[in-house]
Amino acid sequence: MNKLNLILQAHLPYVRHLEYPKFLEENWLFESLNETYLPMLRMLERLDKDGVDFKLSICFSPTLSTMLTDPALQERFVDYMNGRIELGKKEKKRTAAEEKDCYDMAVHYLDEAEKNLARFEELGRNILIGFRALHEKNKIELLTTAATHSYLPIYKDYPAAVNAEIAMGLRTHERIFGESARGFWLPDCGYYPGLDKMLSDNGVSWCQLASHAVITAKDKSIYSGYKPVELPSGLYGFVRDWSVTSLVWSSVSGYPCDSDYRDFYRDIGYYLPLDYVRPYIHEPEVRVFTGYKYHAITGKTEDKAYYSRAKAMEKVHLHVDNFLYNVKRRGFAISNAGIDNPIFNLCFDAELFGHRWYEGIDFLEGVLRRADSSEEFVFTTPQSIILENGPSEKLRLNESSWGSGGYSDIWLDGSNAWIYRHIFKAIERMEELTKRFPDQGTLKGRFLNQASRELLLAMSSDWPCIMHDGTSVTYAEKRLRNHLGSFNVVYSAMSRNTVNTEWLINAEKSSEIFPDIDYHLFEAPEER
């Protein structure tokens, strides 16, 4: 029997700019909701209704779950969806008259948008209620991650800051889902020796690990990652299987690269007349994605073929078969090497499915249905495996991540190294503030809490990652500078023993995250 742990990480940085009528980067949330989270929830609910026995694990990061439960952002999502539906209706007419090859997809997009919005409203606009219901049926293990998805190895010289990220992540999960998380998604699989102890001390049972963590370990591994790793603190590590994951993940040969699948980039926002798309792009006249995309990947060519949903679904079936065949083949080889019932840990960004790989949700559905009807595969969760009390092996690991090269190069390169000079200093100053003001009343306490909030937001791994990738660099840099600048406002004022009340009220209003934050989180471990 091949055991599969599908572990999805749903994460977006905290983006909320109510001071603008529309804010482009909020579309990251809206696109993910419409193209990944809602279709995925509907797919899982369909499986449940059909009696399919499935299990998987999902991490909703604290920043994402905060946004998903934010009434103002929920309202904006409804506006966004109404725009999508309005455009869909126009597209239905336009394609029927002018571009018949696109008509079926226009209808499909419109239909999906209407269904997603309807489910969103049925859930009282909080999709986490839907995922929690599946969790209560023991279909999903819900886990959490660092408060702002901070890449932790870079902060290892600051245990108080790492602990603040862990503790605030767990606390937010408990506040939103009503129970403690036992699993902790290490942001970008970033592990360093000693991190496991901090997680264990916070009540965490398991985390996931990068695929090369075992072969490069300080100890000799005999299970090679196909059984859980017991880290020095007793925390279990589940090692990502690169071989099986890469069937999907690889940007060169993964299934999403198939020429029949839908092209992510070619979008009517860029090629239809401006007058037509103006209400659905960014003001004043900045063309952006609208989500209405009618072409297949085809190849590296300007002449893209029209997308055929039927053809793409045929490919999905083939890829489901191919995926399970590969797992089976590998399982056979691993069993022959003496490891029975190997565990394959498949770790992905959730947004890959549906958003970046349009057919990804159909693929997942196919895999989960096929596995249920087979004796050779079973989908499970890390916590279930821990409870089975099966074999594991004790290993000491080196620092590692799933980033390019396997270490910290993505978050520490020529584009972003400058940020750590400022963040480290802010952490030191925050620790200093907790010592100087150990027991502050309401207003100063709130002021210090805001400083902690700004610091955690500055520590997000998204900003250096965006700087490295070169996607929305100006925004990432501005956000980082603003959070650190805001932190310095508190530090300067508290150094003079004053509180800037007006500033505090504005700052609290603009970052409605971590309402239960307590600046004592940043106390040095020995003083806690």
């Binding site: 591994s221 980039y265 893209k304 620092e399 956000r479 603003n482």
Partner: protein
């Protein structure tokens, strides 16, 4: 910044991007001319126009089009970040298994005093690896604030001190970093064990190799696999 291979974009997409990037008259230009102009523009900005990984996160369009100066100006951050902080200190971060990144600052007092005295500064690197200690200095200028330091694999640590060197050659430690662990891999330390570990080798390969035979992107893995292969060949 362009996010995809420009070669695969249509003329209308390219014209939209060209307009957003401030290229005038793109309606009258051929596809090839627009591509050349865009490539030129991005090269001027020191940006790479090669194909980008489709798994990139956080894209709202094909370009990152805005100027930082006129964007998000109303957010509540009100203080510019200082260029440098007035403390003498040094930090060390592990970049990967072979490189550490050091950055430091000198307080204005220390900087002025040392320069008045005619002292110089060096990074004093200490590497302890498998019980052997190596120490050496890297001369740096008063303008330098960062340096990459090469490290070996092994069992041990590296740390770096910011050191003042007087005209007479006397050294004074100004700041000391925390230690960074070296990458200590069982298989790099015990290659002799490989000849008895054929089935393990195959298991490891199963986990870290794609179906096309490509290894996961990690230099230590590559080195270990090469050692295993060498061992295989020596058996023949």
């Amino acid at each position: 910044m362009i996010l995809v291979n420009v070669d695969s974009l249509s003329v209308s997409e390219l014209r939209s991007i060209a307009k957003q990037e401030g290229i005038e008259g793109s309606d009258a230009l051929s596809r090839e001319d627009i591509i050349s102009l865009l490539e030129e523009k991005y090269e001027d900005n020191g940006q790479d126009t090669d194909f980008k990984d489709p798994n990139l996160r956080y894209m709202s369009g094909l370009t990152d089009y805005r100027e930082i100066s006129n964007y998000v100006e109303d957010l509540p951050g009100v203080e510019e970040l200082p260029e440098i902080y007035p403390d003498t200190e040094i930090h060390l971060i592990k970049k990967n298994g072979l490189w550490l990144y050091a950055f430091w600052s000198l307080s204005p007092n220390d900087s002025d005093r040392l320069q008045d005295e005619g002292s110089s500064i060096v990074l004093s690197v200490t590497i302890e690896n498998n019980g052997a200690r190596e120490e050496y200095d890297i001369p740096v200028s008063f303008l330098d604030t960062e340096w990459n330091i090469g490290i070996p694999y092994g069992s041990g640590f590296c740390r770096v001190a910011l050191t003042a060197v007087s005209k007479e050659g006397e050294k004074t430690m100004l700041a000391l970093s925390d230690s960074e662990e070296l990458t200590d891999s069982y298989w790099l330390q015990h290659p002799e064990d490989m000849k008895y570990s054929d089935s393990l080798y195959r298991l490891y390969l199963t986990l870290v190799t794609t179906k096309e035979g490509d290894l996961v992107d990690n230099p230590v893995v590559r080195e270990i696999i090469q050692l295993f292969r060498k061992e295989d060949r020596s058996d023949e």
